[in-house]
Amino acid sequence: MIGFLARRLAGMVAVLLAISLLTFLIFQVIPGGDPAVRMAGRLATPAQVQDVRRAWGFDRPVYDQYLTTMGKVLDGTVVSYSQQINVEDEIVRSLPPTISLALGAGVIWLFFGVLFGVLSAITAGRLLDRSLTVVALVGISTPAFFLGALLLYYFGYRLELLPLGGYVPLTRDPWGWFTHMLMPWLALSVAFIGVYARVLRSNVLDTMSEDYVRTARAKGLSERRVLVRHVLRNSLIPIVSLWGLDFAAVVGGGAIVIESVFDLHGVGQYAAESIARLDVPPVLVVTLLVACAVVVLGAVVDILYAALDPRIRLAR
């Protein structure tokens, strides 16, 4: 276990370094991306731009800038170019909406994904299965922002049932929080529900044809018990890992589009706005955060996997 964690940690550091370097380099080569020009302000003279460049160290070699920036990222003092505020404070402030979005949507898509997947599998080939399959595939085929825009239009503008976006902290107003999050949750979950339903359906069907399920039936167990204790117990294991990874991706800004549509001011939107402003430090930090979340949750998922499936040993 400790060996596993150590190896994982080493791999993670390597991946994170590569990602940070890549992000940094991408922004270095952007034409017209020189932050000094933007920071020097409107109608700034070349001399002023040069001043900014010197003051912020943009004239130094790339590796030097990278190391300095990474140093600041690590000790938490990195500030954004455009607003010159501490990036990590800003991300901490943007986390509640993003976590609200990810957790709520995660619960919704897990619940409905599992429900639809199991229903679909146990009625395989029948009308219910076919209808659920169609629903799932339509869900998978619908871009979240399209769905979000439609929800916003019909429930927000036309019916005026739900707020038109924005975020209300849970601690301040639980009901407001709920009404503001409802549409983003739905818009984000639908595609995931589709995917999970499909994956689980095929997992369950595969598991049902396993010999040990036949054994369970031969033991005289009730169909329900066979389904829950033998089929689901086994076919849900991969879902756990899938969920962990998807959740990590959403927390880290994978829901950029949804956050933008519903104006949630979460991490993803912060990242998107920072990219639009070509503001490297926030982009760098968010990217690292996401990568971190993905890698850490990946390790957690592996540990969980090993706990759920005794055949798995923690290796690489």
Binding site: T215, A218, G220, L221, R229, H230, R233, R311
Partner: protein
């Protein structure tokens, strides 16, 4: 009244290719305390009968006809709830493959106690687990108390099958259906399991429907025998009668396939062709642990002879073979082929050695590329010999004819061939390189008895025609006995005994050789075999 009565049972399945009749009008009866063996080759429908009696083919879309009763209770027409109260309770089943038949993520004790609690709702969890310990103990599992907490993958194959048996017996059923319960096991383990079943029958008055393809096992345990072929019962009667005086031609041919092959006349052997000296292979297992798969093996295959290598699984036979054909690198020791050290051969040298030293694989299904037609598979060796492309088809056809197939098989895919045909293609592929020696890795172990005999005949014929040398590896003493000039016995990576076939079988020197022989030749005069 018999325990189990089956009358005119028919089972058919709807498949993509239309309805398939798996069982056609089977009638038989089984009394308490009796072992009824249901014998047939693969595809004969014997397993379908077992599954149908348990009601397990219903979900597969089976349509049944006829009648089957257990202690007077209708099995085919029973409702699902009714059937459930019978299953595991008054009739139980033991399956062929204990690793896939046990739930991999639940502890074995839990799996046994689950069945007890399903039928005896008043039994508490702790009590059921206590019963599981008892059952496992009685099924011959040492340390049962600690093993209840084991997961299936932590147990050996024999242990797992004992768990399955313990589970099947947990509610003291009247009928036990055992579907090839020993097929996946080593000979020594198989003998133990069979002994266990015999002891059980005596103790509990249980009726056992024993489904197997292996006449050797049947002789060991059956009171009566049913012979099945293509879904139909062709013959039934007392074990003695069937085994000694079979009436139906099919039964006769089946028994003939089991007849001991005459020992070969020892041949004058030629120069050493393939030699290993002190060959050792160690695999890393985990951080520091090492597994010594091969430990100082020195063997010599002489020109024109057949050297048989026997041993149980884990004895190091496969590793030896992989070393010989240079798929695995030895940790130490040397391999010489025609006097040439090939231990570290690479590139051109290796290629020329490989052309002369070919291999036939155990699993004919896995060793043929499923996406390629037979012609393509055979052309590979021709291409290496730089045969012009225009001649490939003709030469491949000739190869097929040499191994007893026809030219039209060239356009088939491996899945369109039977197991025997596939193994012939595998042999033809080896021959396509025009080799001096063949390494045969369990070449007949996945084949039915009748087919097995044919393939062994083919190998003998080819050897005679082309003067090939064989190194034949098998876990089956009978296979080795009939075709080898000399035999080597392996155990735990070491060769424990080498000798001329007749000598080794008549006066084994090593104790392990004796154990092996004993566990497979219990009934004098009766030949047994196992897959």
């Amino acid at each position: 009244m018999s325990l189990l009565e089956v009358a005119n049972l028919g089972v058919s399945f709807a498949t993509e290719a239309g309805a398939v009749r798996a069982v056609d009008g089977a009638s038989f009866a089984l009394s308490r305390g009796e072992v009824l063996a249901l014998v047939g080759e693969s595809g004969s429908g014997k397993s379908t009968i077992g599954l149908t009696l348990m009601g397990l083919t219903r979900r597969l879309g089976a349509r049944t006809s006829g009648a089957a009763t257990l202690e007077g209770q209708d099995l085919l027409g029973a409702g699902e709830r009714e059937l459930r109260s019978l299953r595991g309770n008054r009739m139980a089943m033991v399956f062929q493959d204990p690793i896939s038949s046990l739930n991999p993520v639940q502890r074995v004790g839990w799996q046994i106690s689950e069945q007890i609690r399903a039928h005896q709702p008043l039994v508490g969890g702790a009590q059921a687990l206590e019963r599981a310990v008892e059952l496992m103990d009685r099924a011959g599992i040492a340390n049962a108390r600690s093993r209840v907490r084991a997961y299936p993958h932590e147990l050996s194959g024999g242990m797992r099958q004992r768990v399955m048996i313990a589970m099947a017996l947990s509610c003291e059923p009247g009928l036990l259906i055992a579907d090839e319960p020993t097929t996946a096991l080593d000979v020594t383990t198989q003998a133990q399991i069979l002994a266990q079943l015999r002891e059980l029958r005596e103790r509990t008055e249980m009726g056992i429907l024993f489904i197997t393809h292996d006449l050797g096992v049947v002789a060991d345990i059956a009171d009566r025998i049913l012979v099945m072929r293509a879904g139909q019962l062709v013959e039934q009667g007392n074990a003695e009668e069937i085994l000694h005086a079979p009436q139906h031609p099919y039964t006769q041919s089946l028994l003939a396939a089991y007849a001991p092959r005459p020992l070969r006349a020892p041949r004058t052997t030629g120069a050493p062709l393939l030699q290993t000296q002190e060959l050792s292979v160690a695999f890393r297992a985990g951080r520091r642990a090492q597994v010594q798969a091969l430990d100082g093996v020195s063997l010599t295959l002489q020109e024109g002879e057949t050297l048989g290598v026997v041993g149980e699984s884990g004895a190091g036979k496969s590793t030896l073979i992989r070393c010989l054909v240079r798929l695995t690198d030895p940790t130490s020791g040397t391999i010489h082929f025609r006097g040439q050290d090939i231990t570290k051969a690479r590139g051109r040298q290796l290629a020329s050695v490989r052309r002369e030293l070919q291999m036939v694989f155990q699993d004919s299904h896995a060793s043929l590329n499923p996406r390629r037609r037979v012609e393509w598979i055979l052309a590979g060796g021709l291409r290496l010999r730089e045969v012009p492309r225009a001649q490939w088809r003709g030469r491949a056809g000739e190869l097929l004819e040499r191994v007893g197939l026809r030219v039209e098989h060239l356009d088939r895919f491996p899945h369109e061939l039977s197991g025997g045909e596939r193994q012939r293609v595998g042999i033809a592929r080896a021959l396509s390189c025009d080799p001096r020696a063949l390494v045969l890795d369990e070449p007949v172990s996945s084949l039915d008895a009748t087919v097995r005999a044919q393939v062994l005949d083919l190998l003998a014929r080819l050897q005679a025609e082309a003067g090939l040398s064989y190194l034949l590896v098998s876990h089956d003493l009978m296979v080795v006995r009939g075709v080898s000039d000399r035999v080597a016995v392996m155990r735990n990576g070491e060769v424990v005994e080498v000798g001329a076939t007749e000598e080794l079988f008549s006066s084994p020197q090593h104790e392990y050789t004796r154990t092996l022989l004993a566990s497979c030749l219990k009934l004098p005069g009766q030949v047994r075999s196992a897959v």
